[in-house]
Every structure is written in structure tokens, then in C-alpha cells.
């Protein structure tokens, strides 16, 4: 594979504005009732220390896609050039095998009787642009790039945090 594209999600930056969901739907014409990108909000704990989590997620374009293996018609495949997992609507029969296979609940059934999901805005990526959700996020919680680039981000973030904590205790 030439490269594997992905999206880094910084859950601490996400402010639950759901702008990424809206951008995805408007850019891709996603029908009501179907979401290619989802923001899941949930609370944990009890007063006085409840915790809120917000996780914006879409297809993870897995290295070994469970959906690809499960698809009986070969409608789902992982592109060799960029690792994006796509569904060929002409071959899809809407059997929902991919929906059952995916541990993240990503593939969804459309009103046209076919399965659909995030395709990392392949057309935009092909033009050198970031996916619509990434371009829209006001909190910069989503970062698009190659996995090689994205894998450096957690370490960078950790280093910055360490630096700030040392500065805060410095005399």
C-alpha cells in the first residue's frame, strides 16, 4: 500500500458541537436517519465528580477490515493506494453482513437498499483537501493525514503536556 490515510481524534479537544456531523451530511448528501460521522456523548460517575466524554467517530478504515471479509459480494474493498475502505453500491445487496461484522457500528442501511459509510471524502482527498469533517471542526479535534504523520501526534501532545506541567511548577 502506498499510504494509509486516517483521522486522529483528540477527544479532549472535542466540544460536542456536532459540526463534523453536519459537514459530513451536507458534503456527502447523507440522508436523514443515517450518519457517516457520529458524535457519541455519555456521562460516567456520580456527583460531585461526574465525567463527560465525547467521541466523534466514523469509519476507521481498518488495516484488516472486518466488513471486507464479511461482504458476500465483494462490494467492500480497501483501496491499495490510500487504505480507504469503500463500498461499491452497484454490487451491494444490502444484506447487512458488514453491519453485523463491524464492531464500531459503522455501515448503515440506506433508503436505496444499500449499505453506506464514510469514505474519507475520497473526492476531496483526491484533490488534496482534507475530509469535510476535519476541515470544519472548530476545535481542531480532528486531524487528517497519513498514519505515519498521525502516529506522532500523541507523543507530541504528551511532550507538550509535560513541558507545561514543568513550567507551572518552576519557581
Amino acid at each position: 500500500m502506498r499510504t494509509q490515510y486516517g483521522i486522529y481524534i483528540d477527544v479532549e479537544r472535542c466540544v460536542q458541537c456536532h459540526a463534523c456531523e453536519v459537514a459530513c451530511k451536507t458534503t456527502n448528501g447523507v440522508e436523514p436517519g443515517v450518519k457517516w460521522r457520529m458524535v457519541f456523548d455519555f456521562w460516567e460517575g456520580q456527583f460531585p465528580t461526574p465525567r463527560n466524554h465525547s467521541i466523534p467517530y466514523a469509519c476507521f478504515h481498518c488495516a484488516e477490515p472486518a466488513c471486507e471479509a464479511a461482504c458476500p459480494t465483494g462490494a467492500i474493498h480497501k483501496r491499495a493506494s490510500d487504505g480507504i475502505v469503500v463500498i461499491d453500491g452497484n454490487r451491494c445487496i444490502g444484506c447487512r453482513s458488514c453491519q453485523m461484522a463491524c464492531p464500531f457500528g459503522i455501515p448503515q442501511y440506506g433508503s436505496d437498499g444499500r449499505m453506506q459509510k464514510c469514505h474519507l471524502c475520497v473526492d476531496r482527498v483526491g484533490q488534496g483537501l482534507a475530509p469535510a469533517c476535519v476541515a470544519t471542526c472548530p476545535a481542531e479535534a480532528l486531524v487528517f493525514g497519513s498514519m505515519e504523520e498521525l502516529n506522532r501526534l500523541p507523543a507530541l501532545k504528551g511532550a507538550l503536556r509535560l513541558k507545561r506541567s514543568r513550567q507551572s511548577v518552576a519557581p
Binding site: A69, T73, I93, R96, S97, I106, Y109
Partner: protein, 411 residues
């Protein structure tokens, strides 16, 4: 040192996924494929969709005709395997062709079971559904059949029944079990399904078996303990499948309903792998090796076997029994084991398929552990539910709708 060769017996989902995985993992040695069929890999799961007009014929062959050339597979098609000699590491076909293997994958699938009813096997009205040839046969017969008896109230049997209702035939579905979907549906769910199918014109004879046939000019009389179905002109045989392992010496390789395999798809013989409907892997919930005849299981096993044969250690921990399918306007799914018994078993239901929004969910727990589910018209969370069952977790709608792996990421 020359790279070892791989010999694959079979040409279905498991076999092709194994080829794909091995080549993508960088295996450059010879891959041979032996099959009795002279055509690209056919997916029998797609036959009902084709017969319903939902899928073009060429799309029933998911890998396509050019798959073998693209992956540099040497094909030996047209003759079934006669013998696999695990000690000598050879395989011989019916027409005398012999190959020596360094690594061999048995992916010969399964054949339709024909119940031992006198006259059934020879009857010109009896049609199993398994191969591309039988699918084409069914297509021409179903177009004109007026009275169908379908043996097996299973997923496949009901799919055939659904297709026949569109052809305006009279349909009687028979099963020795007392309910539809006997393997995966809870009795409550089975009751709803039966009522729904009956609304669409399907008749059922449950808890009884076909005892015999009498051929008549106008069709065949199907004899049951307490009734006779006269003048049937189509008998769909959907009574299950059995692993195709006649060429295996059980003294050489550990076998049960299929070839017993570990999480790397290895059999008891070094260098011999198995995958798909002829293999018996592990159910992660029960921890037992159970036979599962599903396309998805075959593909995962094939992929795992291919990676291991290519020298990339890979494990497949197994999947729970699972099926999902549309029937008429409903979507039905079954996961895991909903028919467990015991003091700690409890069943939770939500909704009703004939009321409100028509959504129904049945969850079965053993203690706090979710072990099985039936869903009607509410499959959005099915992936998360399935993985909760596989991981032995509980289920809480408030948080567990978030996929389990993402929830763990929040710490």
C-alpha cells in the same frame, strides 16, 4: 532456499481469502488450487438474492474470473480430490493428478444434506440449493412451480419460501423442529416470525418429518405422519450442509463435524490447515470447538490460514454463531445462543414486531453476561451487541451503544 509451496483444496470464500491474504503478506511461492468445479468461486449465500432478482448473475461470483491470474494461482479445476495423504504430504485427484505440498489448506466446503427419505434423492422434483448449477436449475423450476414443499424452516428454507410467494405458488415449509429457525431463534421470536411468514402466505408443518414420496403424473405426493401434500411440483431441500471431507483419513487428522483447527487454523498435522465449512474452530463464548457454516466465518478463517501459511503469524479467536437477513419487509438477526438453560438465565425483551414502530429486541443473559440476541427491525447496534457477546460482557443501553472498543479508549 526456495519458498515453500501452498496447495489449496477448494475454490470458495475461504480458499480465495487465503490466496489474497498470502499474496498481500508477500508470499511469492507457488500457490496451487484444486477444485471439482470449473468456474470462479461461487457464493451460495447469494443464490436467494439472485433468485429474487436483487443481484446480477455475475455478481454471485465475488472474486471474479481474473482473480486467479491476478494472484498467480495455478488452477487444477474439474476433478475432485480423491485422497489427501498427510504422512506423505501428497494430494491426489480423481483423475490421477498428484501434488506434493509443503503447506496445504483444506477448504473444500460442505455439501447439501439430503434427508434419508425413500425416493427423495432420486426424485426429479427435489432440489437442494448449494452450487451455481443447482441455483440455475432452481431458477427455471421456480418460474413455473405451483405447489412447493420446502424441507427445513431454516434461514435458507424461509428465503426460498419468500421467493416462491412472489411467484404466487402455494408453499408448505416443513421442519422436524417445533419452531422456525430452530438453531438461532428464541421460541418467542420464532412465534413472531412464524406469524409474519404466515401473513405472507407461507404454511408450516412443524414438528414432523417427510416420511416418503409417491410420484404421480401431476407431481409428487409428500407423505407426512398426519397429512399428505399432494401434487407438489417442487421440493426445496434446505435441511443443512455437511463438511466435504470424504478424502480425509480420520486416522491421520483430527476430525469431528469438520477438521479440528486451532486459532491459527492449523489442524493436528504440521503444515496442514483448514478453513471454512469443512473446518471446526472455536466459539469464543462457549470455548468449545463448534462447526459453523457461514460465509463470514469461512472468510475470516481463510484469511487467517493464508497469513499463517505466508509466514505471518495471525490468530482468529473465532466468532459466535450469527446470521442477519431480510425476510419480506423485516430484517431479522440472531447472534450467539438464545436457547441456553439454567438458573442464572434471564431474558429481556424490548418492543414488539407487530406493534408501534415494529422493532423487537430479545437479549439472553447468563448471570450478567450477554450470551445471545434476536433482533427484528433494529439492527443498528448489532455490531456492538455481537462484540459484547463475543467478549463476554454485559449490556447497558446508556453506554454500551458506544462500541465497546471506543468505550475502553476513554479509560
Amino acid at each position: 532456499m526456495a519458498e515453500r509451496n501452498i496447495v489449496i483444496l477448494g475454490n470458495g470464500g475461504a480458499a480465495c481469502h487465503a490466496v489474497n491474504a498470502a499474496r498481500h503478506a508477500g508470499f511469492t511461492g507457488n500457490i496451487h488450487m484444486i477444485s471439482d468445479i470449473r468456474e470462479p468461486a461461487f457464493n451460495p449465500m447469494l443464490a436467494p438474492y439472485y433468485l429474487k432478482g436483487r443481484l446480477a448473475w455475475e455478481h454471485c461470483f465475488p472474486f471474479g474470473a481474473d482473480f486467479y491470474k491476478r494472484h498467480e494461482v495455478t488452477c487444477h479445476f474439474g476433478s475432485p480430490v480423491r485422497e489427501l495423504n498427510a504422512a506423505a504430504r501428497t494430494v491426489t485427484t480423481e483423475d490421477g493428478f498428484e501434488l506434493t505440498w509443503d503447506q496445504c489448506l483444506v477448504a473444500t466446503g460442505a455439501n447439501a444434506v439430503m434427508p434419508p427419505v425413500p425416493g427423495l434423492r432420486e426424485s426429479p422434483f427435489a432440489y437442494p440449493l448449494r452450487t451455481s448449477a443447482s441455483t440455475r436449475q432452481l431458477e427455471s423450476v421456480m418460474a413455473t412451480a405451483e405447489k412447493a414443499v420446502i424441507l427445513g424452516a431454516s434461514l435458507v428454507g424461509i428465503k426460498i419460501a419468500e421467493i416462491m410467494t412472489h411467484k404466487k405458488a402455494r408453499i408448505v415449509v416443513v421442519d422436524v423442529a417445533g419452531q422456525v429457525m430452530p438453531r438461532g431463534a428464541h421460541p418467542e421470536t420464532a412465534g413472531y416470525l412464524r406469524a409474519y411468514f404466515e401473513q405472507h402466505g407461507v404454511e408450516f408443518l412443524l414438528g414432523c418429518a417427510l416420511e416418503g414420496l409417491e410420484e404421480k403424473e401431476s407431481g409428487v405426493c409428500c407423505l407426512f405422519p398426519e397429512t399428505i401434500v399432494e401434487n407438489a411440483d417442487f421440493i426445496g431441500v434446505c435441511t443443512g450442509i455437511r463438511s466435504n471431507l470424504s478424502f480425509i483419513d480420520p486416522q491421520q487428522v483430527e476430525t469431528d463435524l469438520g477438521l479440528l483447527i486451532d486459532t491459527r487454523c492449523r489442524t493436528s498435522v504440521d503444515g496442514l490447515y483448514a478453513a471454512g465449512d469443512c473446518a471446526q474452530g472455536t466459539n469464543p463464548v462457549t470455548g468449545q470447538r463448534e462447526w459453523q457454516g457461514t460465509w463470514v466465518n469461512a472468510c475470516y478463517q481463510g484469511r487467517t490460514a493464508g497469513l499463517n501459511m505466508a509466514g505471518h503469524p495471525s490468530r482468529f479467536e473465532g466468532i459466535v454463531p450469527q446470521h442477519i437477513s431480510p425476510f419480506f419487509q423485516w430484517t431479522y438477526a440472531q447472534i450467539g445462543n438464545v436457547n441456553v438453560t439454567g438458573d442464572t438465565v434471564r431474558v429481556e425483551t424490548l418492543g414488539h414486531p407487530f406493534e408501534g414502530d415494529g422493532r423487537f429486541r430479545l437479549l439472553v443473559y447468563e448471570g450478567e453476561r450477554l450470551v445471545g440476541a434476536n433482533l427484528i427491525n433494529c439492527t443498528e447496534d448489532i455490531g456492538s451487541l455481537k462484540h459484547a457477546i463475543s467478549l463476554g460482557l454485559s449490556w447497558n443501553d446508556k453506554i454500551d451503544r458506544l462500541p465497546v472498543y471506543l468505550r475502553q479508549a476513554t479509560g
